[in-house]
């Protein structure tokens, strides 16, 4: 549909969208970044790819293997 629109129509669509967006409520990065870091820190403890999973518990780790004596 966008491919069939004229340049003018596309610009009008963009303009309407911009007019809406200028009015959005925003929060300062200092606040949102701090909250993001806090959120991650509480969840990191339970993130298997960060804390690792013991070989015997992770279904994707290799089972069996060779022991060379």
């Amino acid at each position: 549909m966008a491919r069939d629109m004229s340049d003018k129509d596309i610009l009008k669509m963009e303009l309407e969208q911009l007019q809406k967006e200028v009015k959005t409520t925003r929060e300062p990065v200092s606040k949102t970044a701090k909250e993001m870091c806090e959120w991650v820190e509480t969840k990191s403890a339970e993130d298997p790819l960060i804390k690792g999973v013991p070989e015997d518990k992770n279904p994707f780790k290799e089972k069996g293997g060779c022991i060379i004596t």
Partner: protein
């Protein structure tokens, strides 16, 4: 004498000027709240340890480039689709193929697992999204039960079930996204706003509400309200096509991967880009991105055959994974975060943990 003669060039120019003025104003409003950088706030966060991630399983069976994959909620099954027209359902623990369907078209660019685990959706150059119920009987011909749900006027680039098996969200080369009822095939809502092909989409985590994000060849990432069909936020900082978008696990941000060789993080509450994940040595496009469970890690699959692992908060690369022998085209972390799967033009899928 003719009455008002509308000169097309003039109107176009004045529209452009107004658009530029508004864009500048938008940037000014956003800049007012850009009082600190994410990585500065993250200085207090503990650094990550060494990463040892390697290929644990290799899924072989596709006859051509793997284009898309998705995990089942059971954390072990995977659906993948390929340029050869095949859609395969795998048991990632055992690497066995459980189902295979041959689509009537090549380049099956999109596939998705239904939340119930009982069906898969896929589509591509056929401009449609079709749903196949998965039968317990391995001998049953899946193609016979196929249900055509979505119809676009150009290729299907991505699809995703919403919170149930009843609705599917699609994005297309025709520049639109659409929400469909699976049972009736009815179009429930369409989303217009991209000025070129839409290449990717991702639904917000269910707790955050009814929104989704899409990325396109117009370099824009748009956030949409699913009920009203309105675009609520739009970001245009990438310098090329956006190939992949993925919500941050909390729903307050999303990441994108682009042909401009960068991945970026956009904070939805601050309404701006807050991080760029890039290196001078990375010159090939990022095709797909996904977060680890906590959102601390961002995995990016690239066209230079590698997977780069980024520290989302500090903005640094923590690891680079080699293994694929051609472009990485698709990448998703498993539902419980214990592993992630990558698909490649080298015809294989790899599970990393």
């Amino acid at each position: 004498m003719a009455a008002q003669e509308v000169q097309p060039n003039e109107t176009l120019a004045s529209l452009k000027t107004e658009s530029e003025t508004l864009k500048t104003k938008l940037e000014e409003e956003r800049a007012k709240l850009h009082d600190v950088e994410l990585h500065q706030v993250a200085e207090k966060v503990e650094a990550l340890g060494q990463f040892v991630m390697k290929t644990r399983r290799t899924l072989k069976g596709h006859g051509n480039k793997v284009l898309c994959m998705d995990w089942c909620k059971d954390k072990r099954r995977i659906v993948s689709s390929s340029q050869d027209g095949k859609v395969i359902v795998w048991d990632a623990f055992t690497t066995n193929k459980e189902h295979a369907v041959t689509m009537p078209c090549t380049w099956v660019m999109a596939c998705a697992y239904a939340p119930s685990g009982c069906a898969v959706a896929c589509g591509g150059l056929d401009n449609k999204c079709s749903v196949y119920p998965l039968s317990l009987d391995k001998n049953e011909n899946l193609a016979a039960k196929k249900k055509s749900v979505a119809m676009h006027t150009n290729y299907l680039s991505a699809c995703s079930f919403t919170n149930s098996d009843m609705q599917i969200l699609t994005s297309s080369g025709d520049g639109t996204c659409a929400l469909w009822d699976v049972e009736s095939g009815q179009l429930l809502q369409s989303f217009h706003g991209h000025a070129a092909d839409v290449l990717c989409l991702d639904l917000a985590p269910s707790e955050t509400g009814n929104t989704f994000v899409s990325g396109g060849c117009d370099k824009k990432a748009n956030v949409w309200d699913m009920r009203s069909g309105q675009c609520v936020q739009s970001f245009e900082t990438h310098e090329s096509d956006i190939n992949s978008v993925r919500y941050y696990p909390s729903g307050d941000a999303f990441a994108s991967g682009s042909d401009d060789a960068t991945c970026r993080l956009y904070d939805l509450r601050a309404d701006r880009e807050v991080a760029i994940y890039s290196k001078e040595s990375i010159i090939f496009g990022a095709s797909s991105v996904d977060f680890s469970l906590s959102g601390r890690l961002l995995f990016g699959g690239y066209n230079d055959y590698t997977i780069n692992v980024w520290d989302v908060l500090k903005g640094t690369r923590v690891s680079i994974l080699f293994g694929h022998e051609n472009r990485v085209s698709t990448l998703r972390v498993s539902p419980d975060g214990t592993a992630f799967c990558s698909g490649s033009w080298d015809h294989t899928l790899r599970i990393w943990a």
